[in-house]
């Protein structure tokens, strides 16, 4: 068994400026990129064909898939919100390129908190940086947390009425 159980985060535990627990993956070798491409049957050559990436697409190297990075951002938020929390919204842009052999760290910071219909909402600024310190994936996320002694976050999740 993998020990992923930790203490549930409650809305009252979170304040603006708090850090989301960061999540690091890598170095991303060609094997990691190949494993991802194979798992999703995506044969876009810029992720595993060095000659194609450099000569045809004029890239500095094979790229770490944006389609892979998005799950790292999601995993960071999901793990931080805990089993009773819910990742409602997430968005990010792939602005920078992460290259084969890079190590990436997803990070987040709380920018706003509010209670609506008995649930705690936590807005975050999120991003991903590599070992060179390059920020390439700016975004935002909205998580939902229970209040201490409050109602459970409904599943399936029902967004609050506007």
């Amino acid at each position: 068994m993998v020990a992923t159980q930790k203490q549930q985060l409650y809305f009252e535990d979170v304040k603006v400026g708090d850090e989301v627990t960061p999540l690091t993956k890598g170095p991303m070798s060609p094997m990691h990129l190949m494993r991802w491409s194979a798992a999703i049957e995506n044969w876009h050559r810029i992720h595993y064909d060095e000659r194609f990436a450099k000569e045809h697409d004029k890239l500095p190297e094979r790229l770490v898939n944006g389609s892979w990075k998005q799950h790292v951002m999601v995993q960071m938020m999901k793990d931080w919100l805990g089993p009773e929390g819910w990742l409602w919204k997430i968005s990010f842009q792939f602005r920078g390129m992460d290259l084969v052999w890079d190590t990436v760290t997803a990070w987040g910071r709380v920018t706003k908190t509010y209670v609506k219909e008995g649930l705690g909402f936590v807005e975050c600024e999120i991003g991903m940086r590599n070992q060179r310190g390059e920020e390439g994936t700016p975004g935002t996320a909205v998580g939902v947390l229970p209040l201490r002694g409050g109602r459970k976050v409904p599943y399936p999740f029902v967004p609050p009425s506007e």
């Binding site: 992923t4 798992a39 876009h44 050559r45 799950h71 792939f94 599943y155 399936p156 999740f157």
Partner: protein
């Protein structure tokens, strides 16, 4: 560099905004083996993705798949033309579009090089092992920006993923950059 037109956003290209695909149901169900390969590739061993007991303890009837998994169930069905055959004509085929696709018609006369521009997702429920996912997509926006190496075209699509019970799992907006 190949010569670029004054704009890629012609009236014809603009006419694709708002177009919606028919709902498409993935040929594959959400298979435990496919979920295993997927979570091993993203390196997330959360037991709700593979352990029935852990999933039940968290209120799921059976193991589930990661929030963005539904979009990855759309693989090429058997009995359809092999897109990798394109290398016979064009050894520089980039390998894009070899999956099941979104069901949206391709937009003609855009630059050939493709990048993933970004994602905007809203989650309501997780796909369970065994679920059958249906997707419906539409073109939300198509616009152009001047980049360092010339014009870039941004294509925004929104896809709604539903399970076989009609439960909406997620709405995902993807931005594709053609340059």
């Amino acid at each position: 560099m190949a010569e670029q037109p004054e704009t890629y956003i012609t009236d014809e290209v603009r006419s694709y905004i708002g177009r919606q695909s028919e709902p498409v149901t993935a040929w594959d169900a959400v298979e435990p083996g496919a979920v295993r390969r997927f979570i091993q590739a993203i390196m997330d061993d959360d037991p709700i993705y593979w352990d029935p007991e852990a999933a039940r303890a968290r209120g799921f009837e059976r193991p589930v798949a990661p929030p963005l998994y539904p979009g990855f169930t759309f693989r090429r069905p058997p009995g359809t033309p092999d897109p990798l055959d394109r290398v016979k004509e064009n050894p520089d085929y980039d390998g894009i579009g070899a999956g099941g696709g979104t069901g949206l018609p391709p937009i003609p006369n855009l630059p050939v090089r493709t990048l993933n521009g970004g994602v905007e997702a809203e989650f309501f429920a997780l796909a369970r092992h065994g679920d059958r996912i249906t997707a419906q997509s539409r073109y939300v926006d198509i616009y152009e920006r001047e980049g360092r190496s010339g014009k870039m075209v941004f294509i925004v699509t929104e896809t709604t993923y539903t399970n076989q019970d009609g439960q909406v799992l997620a709405k995902v907006r993807n931005t594709t950059i053609r340059r």
